[in-house]
Amino acid sequence: MQQEITADTVRQLARIVGITVPEEDVDSVAAALRSYRSAFEAVEALDLTEVDPVVVTDPRWTR
């Protein structure tokens, strides 16, 4: 079971990535993260072992 995302989670993550999340934004960012995690659950449940990501590298020197 995933740990609940709280205002403290946001503050800790913000410190790690090196941004200051103003106190007035913290609860909204936590709510956004919770909504996102809920939407992302179905994606995480996929078996993607044999699937390449949609990221294309074109090595030609034409640009």
């Binding site: 941004i19 999340v21 007035e24 960012v29 996102y36 992302f40 179905a42 996929l46």
Partner: protein, 474 residues
Amino acid sequence: MSQELVDKTIREAGDLLARREVSSRELTEATLARIAQTEPTVHAYVTVMTESALAAADRADKELATRGHWRGPLHGIPVAVKDICYTTDAPTEGGSRVLKGFVPDHDATVVSRLREGGAVIVGKAHTHEFAYGQNIPPTRNAWNPEYSPGGSSAGSGAAVAARSAFGAIGTDGGGSIRFPAALEGIVGLKPTCGRVSRYGVIPMSATLDHVGPLTRTAEDAALMMNVIAGYDPLDVQSIDEPVPDYTEGLDSSLQGLRLGVERDYFFYKDVGPEYRRTVEAAMRELEKLGVTLVDVKIPELDLCAGIFLNIIATDTSAYHRRWLREKPNDYAPGTRIMLEFGELLFGTDYLIAQRAREVLRSAVKDAFQRHRLDALVAPSNIVTAVPMSRYSSSLFAGSPEDSTGALHQLSIANVIGVPSINVPCGFSSEGLPIGFVLYGRPFDESLMLRIGHVYGAGTPWVGRAPKIKAVAVS
């Protein structure tokens, strides 16, 4: 005369120009007069480019008069451009204080192509901040100024509906051309990924952003595509595929076409009864035109929200990384919160989303092949425009008043890169527009436009004009 002129479609105005029955200056002056009349109500424009527009109109007239040189279907036609497209003769602020007063040193490719095609750019249209959409721009719905115009190409949609531009350029990272088109009762086309250059357009996501036209008719969208589509080596996503004449075969019968209907996903419980009824009626009209509707199941569509949110948030936050640290208070609070949110997502999630994207793409492709589909059809939104007092552009709130319904219906085309078009198909009891959306095969814009054109020709919805309380201008 002025009102009669601005009511013309691009095709009609172009025909008048070609026959020298009207000049580009007359069209442009009529459009500027319409802007002056409607802007106090509609607020479609952040910048009106009066002087440069009149100069461009005079050049277009001179070319036609002295050399008989016709640059194409937009020669002399007044159009608007969303204010995230670079223009050298007007500021490009992206609806944000972050770029206050910024004037680029080059045009976006789409702007260059409009200018090379002889179009007259009359102004820069309002956008949600950086097209990310968390603030509320001043734009109002042309059908009722108490209601929302959608977004993020809010000004582009309102200008076309209000007849203060013959056509407009919008951008679409998750529905931002088709959403305002649906709420404003106009046609909005998001082309295939790579079809129209995004060079010089302030980005959200390198793989979700698209540039396309908003117009009153599908034929006008085809005419604009004939000018703006094509390979651009300056855009890393641009694809060097032959560009057809999008007007060719527009009148061809729809007999034998097969349109897929994914009811579990697109007709889900949040689609309002009036919206659902109206789109179902439009689907019956399509059947009368010879289309076969095919029920399909694509359960992988449910993956879209998670994939989309991850990619759009990560990509957009990456682009804004420096500004978020240097001037966070120049962003609207809602936009800043979204950028902060995107900073906190994990790199592994991003790659998982990009892998799941392939799963979604394959599932849609398989459904098209298995059922021999030409397109999918669905409601463009779940409800009509909501009152401004209740409007929210949140991507998370999950209520009819925010953007989550439109994202649910529209963002799939961005995630898998296929073309998608909004076609007006009716009005609510409150007189607000309703539309259906088509999803096509990659690079099959021509078919999307043909269905929109043939359907529109048989109905009273396409091209209907709102009655805006015009302000007298001395």
